[in-house]
Symmetry: C3
Subunit: 273 residues, 3 copies
């Protein structure tokens, strides 16, 4: 299943339109190229409809959100919806400020998202309309763990059903659901949290995977999440004494560049609930 999804990305080379933050945008571009897609960035309201029309998917990320970009997000989202493209929302910092929370809620109301991907604080903020996000990292007290797993699955399934979207919560344990099935993924390493933008990168490649696999979106999202985690594990094996988060960042993108369907299938650790 995962192999086929990756093969389709490599074969179709989907062009992904990204409206994303200026912190991690370069890594998002390089990781989309690494996985076999082609990135294009544009947030200017006058530019986005044309750009999204020549793409296969749209990735909207709220990091470093500007008021002027919201119009671009809405225009691109509406056009992508008309064209039937997959649209992903990465609500970076929802819960951390009223502006980001309200913008995320507004976008969800006006645009049909195929995928909503965030950490547990961000997703809970969107589900409950408020939050206790500690910056852009998840509030650790509510992270998904073995103890609250069933409860977390039940929560995320309910939210996905309500929004009619695939919802992804990433953390030490990742959850991916369409409201019916829920995949529990245990790949990745905690050191990935010491690199800025691994979440943003995952949102970029998830959009590429959905664009290339329109008939199996849930499986495509699972493949993208597993690939990011497996890449984090492979990359770690290449770390040498003295290496730190800057080198780890490069090695993860390199591992995605060199990922094969076989490595992905072999490394992926997921269960279906």
């Amino acid at each position: 299943m995962l192999k086929e999804c990756l093969d389709q990305v490599r074969k179709k080379a989907p062009v992904v339109h990204n409206i994303t933050n200026y912190v991690t945008v370069n890594d998002v571009a390089n990781v989309i190229l690494a996985c076999g897609g082609s990135p294009i960035m544009s947030d200017e309201p006058e530019d986005v409809a044309d750009i999204t029309s020549i793409c296969g998917g749209l990735n909207i990320n709220l990091g470093t959100l500007h008021k002027t970009s919201i119009e671009g997000m809405l225009k691109a989202g509406h056009r992508s919806n008309e064209l039937g493209h997959p649209v992903l929302l990465d609500p970076v910092g929802a819960g951390a400020s009223r502006f980001r929370t309200e913008t995320a809620l507004k976008l969800i109301k006006e645009i049909k998202f195929s995928v909503i991907r965030g950490n547990v604080s961000e997703i809970k903020t969107l589900a409950y309309g408020s939050g206790s996000t500690k910056g852009v990292d998840a509030d650790l007290t509510e992270a998904v763990n073995e103890r609250n797993l069933q409860q977390s699955i039940s929560f995320i399934k309910g939210f996905a059903k309500k929004k009619e979207a695939i919802v992804i919560i990433t953390g030490a344990i990742d959850l991916v659901t369409d409201g019916e099935k829920c995949y529990v993924i245990r790949n990745g390493r905690s050191e990935m949290g010491r690199i800025t933008g691994t979440g943003c990168q995952l949102s970029g490649i998830t959009t590429a995977f959905l664009a290339a696999n329109p008939k199996r979106k849930l499986e495509a999202a699972v493949a993208a999440v597993c690939m990011m985690g497996v890449a984090g594990e492979i990359a770690w094996t290449r770390m040498q004494e003295g290496d730190g988060n800057a080198t780890y960042r490069n090695r993860i993108i390199d591992a995605i560049y060199n990922m094969t369907g076989e490595k992905l299938e072999k490394g992926a650790k997921y269960e279906l609930y």
Copy 2:
């Protein structure tokens, strides 16, 4: 010829004003430093005239173009023209959206560019006023190749003559012309296309080369294009098992940092038509 051009960059350390996209801007800054120049970035209309006045050249790049930046591009361009600085246009995504195409055409009308550098789709869009650009990568069906080489040279010479500028088309084969002479360059590797921003980087260093070599602009542009390609080749020889596009990106900038006139002369593969 190439050696002398590089030596001048190292000797004069030209300050390059960049109005460029937020995707690849960090790499553009580091590659300008690597080749011996000094980068400064500013796109705010109130800031650009002062900034460009203390620089030796101006690099205008349309990636992630914003409406508000256009005023900055025009002000900086006019001021640079007054001061006789070389001004380069990198029309990223011209042909991919009406907004980018029209902005590129407007800039060419109002500013005197020393160099226009893009992929074949972008340059054809500027020449014919419309295009079929596939995202920010060139439409492969019209790439410069051995079969259409003479026709491509004839096209680019005509466009350069009309615009009274040096025009550079980059791809598997690079063309550099001032309308009279056309250099055909066969350096570089296809894997460079899997890194975001190698084109943006080339635009940055080309501006530095022109700023440092005002009396031989065409040769300076050829030297910059050859250097990017030779760096891509040298960098590839340093790639190890497991390395991918993130590491390749770093190695290319490293190769430019360590480039010598001798390595450049030895590695450059160009012909004059």
Copy 3:
């Protein structure tokens, strides 16, 4: 002293709000993570007050300054002042343009800064109200050196006393003063100037150090400056043939990731004047 300051950063993991330029922002985020803090970036006026409220410190950097960001800087600065958070100013390019100089002076007038950090040209511009900055790099003729050291110390102490702030001038020799004591630091390497953003990175980690060490701000600033320099020295020992500024950039962040209190104490070269 230095060890204790670093230990506090690692223990408290301060969240740092950065309003910074789009050139070096990714490196600033990764270096804050490397030293043990947690970065968040936001410059939108509607967003900054909420964001800074959940942080422990604020880092304001004038690189790629936009008119619209100034309102965000003022709002965030006022809120941080109300909350008693440390606020740092990095006046990138003050002296290089009237817009940047005037904005820096306006910010200093309206916001209480805990730290002002720049190169000698930028700091002299702020002290005298005008300057002769050559781009974003310091005008070399006025760099701090052994010959003008006493005079430089006297100048910086006077400026710090007047502004009631810690002032840091970085260069081949770094000066850190609160107006009473002045630390003279001789760490780092000249090759760090061939990487874009080592100054921006230092401003980010200095803010993290102050946020984690509210009762010894001067020592915290000294620890941050020493750490950047020691990291530059350690990173250089890991450079291999063919490596250049791109790899050096990664190795410096890696060295900060792997820095220990012991390495920092052992490597730091500072004197108190």
